[in-house]
Symmetry: C2
């Protein structure tokens, strides 16, 4: 079958899924590797998706009372040292600035050895310490609380194995940081952020997720509780798509974030932090892409409706273009998902078939083809990206122009809903419930050998006694032999008697999700 | 006279202007110094202004055909070395990343000496080299041109003397980068960006500027032409508020950005770059602030209309609050400057007088005070920040609620216009034309001694023969003895016989602006 994409994810060999992913990102012209190891160049189509994610998420973050700030990129080493003493398992792979000058020595531009900083500066991997420092200055009294801050920023973590959007040394994200007078309010904030992410992922990205709490060994270092949303990719693996942390008073103690209570005594704040990143774009690709490339949910498609005029270097071209211009203008006057529709007349000097396939690969939700006959008949030929194929053929339908315009917003909403429904059915259908023993788990997921580990298995929901400490580490080690991880304990827990813990044989206290993961 | 701000800019001692500036920024709660030398924390009110600047400018940049991308923060040293060989006067104070790991050695968190990078990475001071590298891969044929890219990003320049917003080690900006087939198109692009900045500054920031070309010695290193917009601050000094560079083919040659022409031969691209930054916010403060604090043009005020309820812990409070809520909702339903009005009911638990002065210092364009009597009478008490005082008293006026709501958008537009008119009158009135000799120039501006150099002088428009090379350097050195600089040669040049060059005595070829500057 002829496909727009050069690599199929449904060939017999499942190990092509990562290659398929790279092909989609490349052929949709979203991003490319950069000459700086582990960093990427985000191209207009990829960045346009990020801008739409930002706009919607920013609106939600502000609507829940948070304000945006900007904090320094560089963090003094001493700030992290304070944190490191306090927190075991502190991540250490970071970019370190040690000098502040370049100099031409022997005709060659070099780092000036005389310009060493007194204190090395770390390029922020996350901003708890630098924002906590500000909180310690800003907060004096219970009247100052809560402090609800968000930041849009770039962060750097020195990753050894990188993949565009999914794991890069530098990435873009949003990080919420809040301080509260008590545990109750801080926990409520943590769950508010988690729910915000869940709702955003499902409604805007059309990406179903399961929200829940991470096990103790997967917490953010120093956090009292870490929650995540987990999405199922088309290879059955889990992608952690967002996290929200209740930090207790540990960070406030390390950074002296204190306030005078209404009774006049002093207490440490309870803090939270939560973030999602450009990784979400990788999740969208692996949730909605197909063998023809990307399929974008209309809510985050930089172009929702693309009009491709069929031009033949003939006098009729002018008429086709005028018809297309008027149509684009009319569509841009409509509102969908609360904002104006984004329609484009593609006038690039390429053959129309080439243009059509470019937009198919980029995942534009609706493509309209316009020839002289359409212009004359007052119609448009409609291709829906979510329903592209009829067997080997591309499915297209001629519709009267007014009919299309009148139903365009509903069609965009329908595409959004259909992409979500498709992904939701996959998630629901691949969530195995009822495995009772570790041997059954091992048998279900199969061996961890390279060529087999990529077979589609989905996730298993099992019950456990929530072991801690060394016992939990042993569970983790056993799962690792199968390349499995615990994703989270879903917020939506089954009631009644749960039965026996799969790992310890003791009475189970909660259900957890087990999966291979990114 | 009682003022909201603790420091006046109009006391006899003019040297307080910088102190006044710091006081406005601090008391409007816009930004604060950070523990990282030379960097700042941008607080919600300052960041809110930046978000509005971004939104409007981004719309303009996209409307002129540019697309947003994101390029890596880190630039390999070798990229800059290539540039440095090519460009004399290459700036060298930059943050250099040399290591990628921290490690606990002897119980102390330190830079791991075993984790030195093979090649040092520079934190971008500007992105010509990393974007040029992408251009060299993206551009193959004349059909790929023009490439019109913009990036919103943080950049770092190791500044020794810093001041909030005006000059910080890290700042936020927008950088446009474009590649064209010929000089004509690239020059047109350079001037298009310049005009975009001019129009934006005047219409949105209400900050009058003079656009023009920088003299040869003030060009961006390696540029063929550099243009700027210059704004006059209230101390008479010039602030360079934006620049646009035509880079010729020099950067393309250093980076191998080539294309095949429609005739089949190969040519280097002509490139441009242009940017404005968070420095604009400093310009807004020094253009519109007064002795009561900031005055914000409504187009960039995060809150345009603030409603301060006068609450007395009495049963009538509920009525006042309900009245205020309904009013805020009604105002937020209006449109001003093409977007919804931003009104707020300030319910913070502070005394209403304190709240009023907070909003005066923050520069909210309209403040409405609401007491039980206003609620009962269906009126509002209106304070306009651009016209705050009647002698020593605050000017306020009781107006029927419907009258205020019906005229609110017009009032915001009027405030925007009045702030511009006030600044324009100052610029026009302080632009001395007709100084013919260097001695007269020296006499006019007065000595460069610390205590005198801050006296208000404004700018001088003089004519010159546009000397180059060593002759220009001599001119520059003479001006420096008076702490003066050449700002630009205004795009709008006088016609006819210009007379004699002030510096060389030769026939003059153009008018230039001379001023003390930030």
């Amino acid at each position: 079958m002829q496909r727009a994409l050069s690599i199929s994810r449904v060939t017999g060999n499942r190990s092509t899924f990562p290659d398929w992913y790279q092909a989609v990102v490349r052929e949709a012209d979203m991003a490319e590797p950069s000459p700086v190891r582990g960093a990427m160049v985000i191209k207009p189509w990829g960045y346009g998706i990020w801008e739409l994610i930002q706009q919607d998420l920013d609106r939600r973050i502000k609507a829940t009372g948070h304000e945006n700030c900007y904090f320094p990129l560089f963090i003094p080493l001493s700030f992290l040292a304070k944190e490191a003493e306090h927190v075991e398992g502190f991540a250490r792979e970071m970019a370190v600035v040690t000098h502040h000058r370049l100099k031409t020595i022997d005709g060659k531009l070099q780092v000036d050895p005389d310009a060493e900083l007194e204190e090395p500066l770390i390029v922020r991997p996350t901003s708890e310490t630098i924002i906590g420092d500000a909180f310690s200055r800003w907060i004096r009294s219970y009247r100052d609380l809560p402090v609800l801050i968000n930041q849009w920023a770039n962060v750097v973590r020195w990753e050894m194995r990188t993949r565009l959007f999914l794991r890069t040394s530098e990435f873009l994200w949003q990080e919420g940081h809040t301080a509260h007078a008590n545990a109750e309010e801080a926990r409520a904030e943590t769950l508010l952020a988690l729910e915000l992410y869940r709702d955003f992922s499902e409604r805007v990205l059309a990406m179903p997720v399961i929200a829940g709490e991470k096990p103790e060994n997967e917490r953010f270092p120093g956090a009292a509780n870490t929650y995540s949303i987990e999405a199922m990719m088309q290879d059955g693996k889990a992608l952690q798509a967002g996290t929200s942390h209740y930090l207790g008073t540990g960070f406030a103690e390390a950074q002296n974030i204190r306030f005078q209570t209404d009774k006049g005594d002093w207490a440490h704040c309870h803090t939270t932090s939560w973030g999602v990143s450009t990784r979400l774009i990788g999740g969208v690709v692996m949730t909605h892409g197909d063998d023809d490339g990307l399929r974008l949910p209309p809510a985050i498609a930089p172009r929702q409706i693309v009009i491709v005029p069929m031009l033949r270097d003939k006098p009729e071209d002018a008429e086709v273009l005028a018809y297309g211009e008027a149509l684009a203008k009319e569509l841009n006057g409509l509102m969908a998902f609360g904002v104006p529709v984004r329609a484009l007349l593609d006038k690039k000097p390429l053959r129309s078939a080439e243009k059509r396939w470019n937009w198919v690969r980029k995942g534009a939700p609706i493509i309209l083809e316009l020839g002289p006959r359409d212009a004359a008949a007052g119609q448009v030929t409609v291709i829906r990206r979510d329903d592209l194929r009829d067997g080997d053929k591309v499915r297209s339908q001629a519709v009267a122009r007014e009919t299309f315009v009148g139903g365009a917003v509903a069609m965009l909403e329908e595409i959004q809903a259909s992409l979500f429904a498709e992904a939701k059915a996959r998630l629901d259908g691949a969530l195995i419930d009822g495995i009772k023993t570790f041997d059954d788990l091992a048998a279900y997921f199969g061996p961890a050998a390279e060529d087999e580990a990529d077979a589609f298995r989905g996730w298993a929901k099992v019950v456990w006694a929530r072991p801690t400490g060394a016992e939990l580490e042993a569970v983790d080690a056993r799962l690792k032999t199968l390349k499995l991880t615990i994703r989270n304990a879903p917020s939506d827990q089954p009631g009644g008697d749960l039965g026996t813990c799969l790992f310890t044989g003791r009475p189970a206290v909660e259900a957890i999700l087990i999966a291979r993961a990114y």
